[in-house]
Symmetry: D2
Subunit: 219 residues, 4 copies
């Protein structure tokens, strides 16, 4: 069992709670309320900015050009495909450019944003990679489970969401992130830090799905 | 009315809700449950690290040595007096060095930490100063209200908490922060950003008191 | 005349001294001593790391996804094409992986590195973009002059160096950088800063060619 | 021999060349040309900004409040004493506030600035501390040598320069920096990085004295 597997096991039941959250199981079987999906979608669009910062800073900290190329390749993919999907969906829903610009963070997204950017700015390379892995891997996991279960949501967006998170670009990137973590030789203190990152990110992932599913307001 | 007054007015009722939160009114009249105070105290100790980062980065971004000197003076004060107070209180409560080291963020502190560090790393100087002002000013406000109302909590820690937040070092620093904000000439877009920072910080301040008062658990 | 043209004009004669440096004129007519080219090439390979940091941080600071996409597209191009060219050349020269890893900065490259990374970390988005423009534009200029003059160096590497710096990817990126600078509305103070960046970068570019041409030693 | 002694020994003859540079030996015996000193002084004033950034970022990265307090204490000292000395000297020389504001980097100062800021932003805590040690320690060394040799320059500024670099604040800070480096347990790779930092900083220190002594112009 490599370090990435250990870190995943080390978060305990929260992993399973994330990947089987009603938000994703209902997306996979097509029963997800559209309002919930749109709430998610809008927040995820804002979150893309945080994702870009996380990947950019990982690129800046990459120890060699091969690592930088992997990270930039995934950035390229996300800013191409996924961002295009957001724009298309906004147009279809009739949201103007101004309406899109006026979208703002719900509490959980803002909290998650601060956490990820802090890792991006402060973390050593392996820590930023572990952060990315904890962000991406649960997505790959729930989407692959949906595919394995033969689920077809029968909704273009829900289906696309599963497709992009099981694409070769996605699974290849998660494999590469895992190989970086597995190939690192952390001291016990550094290992604790990586485990803490996994735990924290999974908690935010859970809250993110919950925010989408239940709605959320500012105090 | 200077810009700092406008920003304060612009956050709406949340300012009043922060400075009259039961956590601080009960601290001022001495009725605050000790468990609630200790929860606050432990989290505030962890938060000191975030405060150091915010002030350090403001120092690094200071446009001149006079500004840097003000920021370093306040850092010096906090790392001397306030940090000593924490250590003293931990000793009195019988917490070992290991127990102190093992303290960990509750959700709100971690969320607030991420927000502040993100401002510290990303913000232009005036934005970091506005962040600091939104952090410090409500403390000066509630503590001064307690003093004006002639309140004596009759508890050494509660009293010290009021004293340090109405000290000349504190009021002088808040005045200086206000003068920086008042002397800035933001574009409308930059002004919106400063207003957003005030709003966000006040929301976190409210949640911080609430976390201390009600307790909080991770998902 | 847009701001980018003004900034270019504002650096004075150093622009012309950069783009007509014997290092590039001799590269274009094929007379450049191979030792000089290899000295340049090795240092430019190390410099690629600084270039990645500059582009990554620009991406992190991008105000919107369209800007981020442009920057990531150019990163993608450089880490694909140009880095591959470096590896190929190292192989052809018989440099082992270890020999490549052991390459180290000459003084000018290290000085230039520190300058660019400082801009990357400290600069506002437009400043980082102006830095990138001052880095890339002179390359486009000398390479386009070589092409216009019909020069064929008759050396595969020299020719490729001209080709990649006149490619659509290169000219398109410079155009985009110029459009960002031209579309910015700097205050007089911000404008001075942009002009200072152009002046500083051109000085380093000149020194970089000079280092390659004449050699350089540490004190 | 602790790690700090090893790093000092590991830079080879450049240490001795720095601490016996004519700029400092002539300052100590009082024969230093005033023009050379003023060139140094002006550049060192600008350098204070870089020093503030280096110390601020070290503070932000400090692993505990004791370390942060040491760093902030030295910042406090420098922004108080040393910066006051600069202002006094400028007034005495009749330089207006505008003239002081118009001072600009000579090449070596700018190169050194970029190097130090890069360490400040990128370095892990021990690396930033090693950078600070390599900056401060040679100053303590040459100033202590001058004192031991019983030298009295007979010039108020030269004498003060020796005094502040042999003060308890200075020697205590260098001792503390050494204790941090000595107490670190670097991997071989991390050790090489620290040695490289020492070598690089000493080279810049040498060039800084040389710039002051011989003058310098931009290309």
């Amino acid at each position: 069992m490599g370090l990435s597997d250990e870190l995943r096991a080390g978060v305990g039941p929260i992993w399973e709670r994330v990947v089987t959250h009603p938000f994703v199981t209902e997306m996979a079987d097509g029963s997800l309320d559209r309002v919930r999906f749109e709430r998610y979608f809008d927040q995820d669009y804002l979150f893309l900015k945080d994702w870009v910062i996380l990947l950019s800073l990982a690129t800046a900290k990459a120890p060699d050009f091969d690592a930088a190329r992997e990270l930039v390749g995934f950035l390229h993919l996300g800013l191409g495909g996924e961002e295009g999907l957001f724009q298309e969906a906004f147009r279809e829903r009739g949201l103007s450019r101004e309406a899109v610009k006026a979208l703002s963070y719900l509490p959980t997204t803002q909290n998650y944003s601060g956490y990820l950017r802090t890792q991006a700015y402060e973390g050593a390379f392996t820590e930023v990679v572990a952060t990315l892995l904890a962000v991406e891997w649960p997505y790959l996991d729930w989407a692959q489970r949906a595919v394995k279960a033969g689920q077809k949501p029968g909704d273009r967006y829900y289906q696309t969401w599963i497709d992009i998170h099981t694409s070769p670009g996605m699974s290849g990137f998660v494999s590469w992130l895992r190989s970086v973590v597995d190939g690192s030789a952390p001291t016990p203190e550094q290992r604790d830090k990586l485990q803490g990152i996994f735990r924290d990110v999974l908690r935010y992932e859970y809250q993110f799905f919950d925010m989408a599913y239940r709605g959320e307001t500012w105090p």
